[in-house]
């Protein structure tokens, strides 16, 4: 089994707010991240797939195909967007780093045929990242 990781970057804005909670409770829970005008990050994604090496191509999967799927399914929707307002998953869900990792997994997993998705890592900044390995 070989593991292969592809990195990608996108920039987006978001804010943390749960409409079921009071304004005070939101501010207490989320602090500065609760500013309704949003704030932004340069996110880095690391997508790790795993599989056996194809004896003909020497690949686990064609990196170009992984890049195309990642661009089409994730980056085209997330890059330079206000996540809360422009990405459907986050109409009902807070776009935390954890939830972003789950959303990226759900977008990619059904689109990968030749290799199996192993891990989605989302860096919000160089000192904070979330990992998702699928539902366990």
């Amino acid at each position: 089994m070989i593991y292969l990781t592809r990195k990608a970057e996108f920039s987006a804005s978001h804010y943390y707010h749960n409409p079921e909670l009071s304004a005070e409770e939101n501010r207490r829970l989320f602090g500065k991240c609760n500013n309704p005008n949003g704030h932004g990050h340069n996110y880095t994604l690391e997508i790790t797939v795993k599989g056996e090496v194809d004896p003909q191509s020497g690949f686990v999967m064609d990196l170009k195909e992984l890049k195309e799927v990642l661009n089409r399914e994730v980056l085209d929707s997330f890059d330079h967007r206000f996540l809360n307002k422009e990405v459907p998953e986050f109409a009902q869900q807070i776009p935390t780093t954890e939830n972003l990792a789950v959303a990226v997994w759900k977008r990619l997993q059904p689109r990968l045929q030749t290799a199996q998705l192993h891990r989605v890592r989302v860096y919000e900044c160089s000192d904070l990242f979330a990992d998702f390995y699928g539902e366990e």
């Binding site: 593991y3 943390y16 749960n18 079921e20 909670l21 829970l29 989320f30 602090g31 869900q93 807070i94 776009p95 935390t96 780093t97 954890e98 939830n99 990792a101 789950v102 891990r119 160089s126 000192d127 904070l128 990242f129 979330a130 990992d131 998702f132 390995y133 539902e135 366990e136």
Partner: protein, 140 residues
């Protein structure tokens, strides 16, 4: 829906690798430059990984502020800008990065309860790092 979250912290400290039970020659042979009696220092980077279900109310595994508070109080206050050999944690052991990583894990495990502590990774320099997960396997 279970996820992992990792936060990086930074601290600077000095140490000397020296085993009181060994001869001068043995200490020099095993530890080399790290045995210099005056000690030397590093900029350490510490990654703390926690795991748990994502709380539907907050979208988070735990309040990151609680993790920051625990790491600042229990790890950074104890070790940042200190000579590790002189801290109580290393009264009876050599402050190698292996021992520092496992010590930090055990301190956090005793003092942080907002989520499951998955493991810690300690980078002594950009060229070497040490990981400890309480003796269990480290997830890749």
């Amino acid at each position: 829906m279970r996820a992992h979250l990792t936060k990086r912290y930074h601290f600077a400290a000095s140490h000397r690798l020296h085993n009181e039970g060994w001869s001068t020659e043995d200490n020099l042979r095993v530890y080399g430059k790290c045995n210099n009696s005056y000690g030397h220092g590093h900029n350490y980077a510490l990654e703390v990984t926690v795991s748990g279900p994502i709380d539907a109310r907050t979208g988070m595994i735990c309040d990151l502020g609680e993790l920051d508070t625990a790491v600042e109080r229990e790890v950074l206050a104890r070790f940042d800008h200190e000579h590790l050999n002189l801290t109580p944690a290393f009264a009876g052991s050599v402050p190698t990065s292996e021992n520092l990583a496992s010590t930090i894990f055990e301190i956090l495990q005793r003092n942080f309860h907002a989520a499951h502590l998955e493991g810690v990774k300690l980078e002594e320099t950009s060229q070497n790092s040490f990981e400890y997960a309480g003796g269990g396997e480290i997830r890749r």
